[in-house]
């Protein structure tokens, strides 16, 4: 009995606990309010709907833990999807196209990283710039008209293996990999260190520039993957794909307990954050909540999810 309490208390110390609690509350409520909620099909839908945000948020989480921010992910999603689709259309080679899409994401990330590390541009502004540039290039490449997408991308975005959405599986695998990476590898731990105190980390021998470049590149790569999944799911690469995604992605990261000031955060939290947001959207559809109340509810849930944590913890920096 007492050990249960202790376990609960230990859990409470984790920042992601309050979001997890919120997730459970919403889930329990939904399972009473809608007979369809617990249907495996519906639960897997929620998983699939969370997957792109979650995958991109994995990269964003590392960026934010390392004290950066990447506003360009939404546009990179769009550009990568368009590049992949155009290459497939023009060469007919699917693998080349997908590779080109991922490479595009990676390059965008590297550009962000270089703007930050070489030109010393504040990442907020640097990625705000690439947000615009990447979107503009996607529009220029397509003349604003969506390009059809299919094949492997469609399988990844919309296919199922044994009934489980491929993109959801991919999300799970990536989340585990990034989690292990972040807590077990040297680079991963160095990301936390540079986010906590960049100067001290540098003096202690952490290569600031390389680490920063890495996290932006990785985030770009995952955004590229997100673009391919999303366009695959829709079977269409729209140059406007992913508009506004940056806010969802960052919200998932922060909801999951990552500090915007760097140095702290967990991958599990990020996944929970993304799931909570997808669950809310699912709830709106299942319960038939009117659009305007959806907007209000979403805001309230976000606030409550974090208020629990804040109240328990008290101010930190004061």
């Amino acid at each position: 009995m007492n050990t249960g309490l202790v376990a609960l208390k230990r859990l409470g110390r984790h920042r992601e606990a309050s979001v997890l609690l919120m997730l459970l509350v919403v889930a329990v409520y939904l399972s009473f309010a809608s007979e369809y909620f617990l249907a495996p099909r519906n639960l897997l839908n929620v998983g699939r709907q969370a997957s792109v945000v979650a995958i991109v948020a994995l990269g964003q989480a590392l960026v934010i833990i390392g004290r950066g921010i990447d506003l360009s992910v939404g546009s990179v999603i769009g550009l990568s999807a368009v590049v992949a689709a155009v290459v497939i259309r023009d060469t007919g080679l699917e693998s080349v196209g997908l590779f080109a899409g991922l490479l595009t994401g990676l390059c965008c990330g590297i550009v962000n990283g270089l703007l930050y590390t070489r030109l010393k541009i504040n990442p907020f502004i640097a990625t705000l710039g690439t947000l615009s540039v990447a979107r503009g290039i996607a529009l220029l490449m397509t003349g604003g008209i969506p390009v059809p997408m299919g094949g492997i991308a469609e399988f990844v975005g919309a296919g199922r293996i044994a009934g489980i959405p491929v993109s959801f599986l991919l999300m799970i695998v990536l989340a585990i990999a990034v989690h292990v990476f972040s807590v077990r590898t040297v680079r991963g731990r160095e990301i936390y260190a540079i986010g906590d105190n960049p100067k001290a980390s540098r003096l202690a021998g952490v290569d600031l520039k390389a680490t920063r470049l890495f996290i932006f590149a990785f985030c770009g790569l995952l955004a590229g993957l997100g673009g391919i999944i999303l366009s695959g799911n829709l079977a269409s690469a729209d140059p406007n794909l992913g508009v506004g995604y940056e806010l969802d992605v960052i919200a998932a990261v922060i909801l999951g307990g990552t500090a915007l000031s760097g140095g702290r955060g967990s991958i599990a939290g990020v996944v929970i954050g993304a799931l909570l947001m997808a669950l809310l959207n699912n709830a709106f559809v299942l319960l038939g909540i009117s659009a305007y109340w959806q907007v209000v509810t979403k805001g309230l849930v976000i606030i409550f999810a974090v208020a629990l944590d804040g109240l328990q913890r008290g101010g930190e920096d004061e």
């Binding site: 604003g144 008209i145 406007n240 559809v285």
Partner: protein
């Protein structure tokens, strides 16, 4: 039976037992009000036939992902049929999936260019609506002068089709009309306002502004504030109160609508008929010709 008021299709007798139809649509501006009303009217009308039309709100941000999530949700809730506002290219796949799963889908208002297995589409063809506006502009400008073009979002299919429908028509039929732009206003009236101000600065001889999507009244307000009422006209879409107001005062010279109420109502009834009696809709694409209002109609 009689067709409901405002609709053109009558329901057939229900021999199948209870029918559930999901009506998926957005809600973020006055355009959607008649759509919602149409869905409600369909529900009221079909209630007498042991069928319900549930309005499911997809939220206030229009995106393909929201449509996909909505259809997935409707499938999970085991509706017999779905009426949806698909708008985007990327929705074709999930529509096909629903159709394969035995849940017919009726598209209304706007659909992507990618073909899908939907039961039918009722709505306005954006390109021909653009052409319709193009013709109107040609007449209004007497085939010459400068036309400013403001589009909602670069890359939004419907916006682009409306824009190109008009611009291509004018290029072919009225080569003396010079196009200024296009510029993007992100569906915002305040951006349209600023754009018109700046367009008038660099093109004092501009005589017409075409706004393809959201916020035409911002352009009209700019014309009014610049004291150019009567010299410069604005054409755009949708009979919302904001836009109609400037039709009365004369800054707005043409407003095309999409008969959204009728689309919503007829689609629901046709889908019901298909579900209970297998009655196919009259065509795969049922065009709705918009009603083009001019200041004369507003008085």
């Amino acid at each position: 039976a009689e067709p409901p008021k405002g609709g053109t299709v009558a329901a057939v007798e229900n021999t199948k037992g209870p029918i559930k139809i999901a009506f998926l649509s957005f809600q973020n501006n006055p355009f959607w009000t008649p759509v919602t009303d149409g869905a409600k009217a369909a529900n009221d009308y079909l209630k007498g036939f042991n069928a319900t039309v549930d309005f499911v709100d997809l939220g206030n941000e229009l995106s393909a992902e929201a449509v996909v999530a909505g259809i997935e949700g409707a499938l999970a809730k085991q509706y017999n049929g779905i009426v949806v506002v698909p708008i985007f290219d990327g929705t074709a796949r999930i529509i096909n999936e629903a159709t394969e799963a035995g849940v017919p889908v009726f598209n209304i208002v706007a659909e992507g260019a990618a073909p899908s297995e939907r039961l039918a589409f009722i709505g306005q063809d954006a390109t021909s609506a653009g052409e319709q506006i193009g013709k109107f502009i040609q007449e209004k400008m007497n085939g010459k002068g400068k036309l400013g073009v403001i589009t909602g979002y670069f890359g939004a299919t419907q916006h682009t089709q409306r824009m190109n429908g008009a611009v291509d028509y004018l290029k072919a039929n009225a080569p003396d009309i010079q196009i200024v732009g296009p510029f993007e206003n992100k569906d915002k009236a305040e951006e349209a306002y600023s754009l018109v101000q700046d367009m008038m600065t660099s093109n004092p001889d501009l005589s017409m502004v075409y706004v393809t999507a959201g916020g035409p009244f911002g352009a009209a307000k700019a014309v009014k504030d610049l004291g150019l009422t009567g010299k410069v006209g604005v054409v755009g879409f949708d009979h919302t109160p904001d836009n109609m107001q400037y039709l009365k005062t004369g800054e707005m010279v043409g407003l095309l609508d999409q008969a959204p109420y009728q689309q919503a109502l007829d689609a629901s009834v046709m889908l019901y008929n298909y579900l209970v009696a297998g009655t196919e809709p009259p065509a795969k694409v049922i065009p709705v010709v918009g009603n083009l209002l001019t200041p004369a109609d507003a008085k």
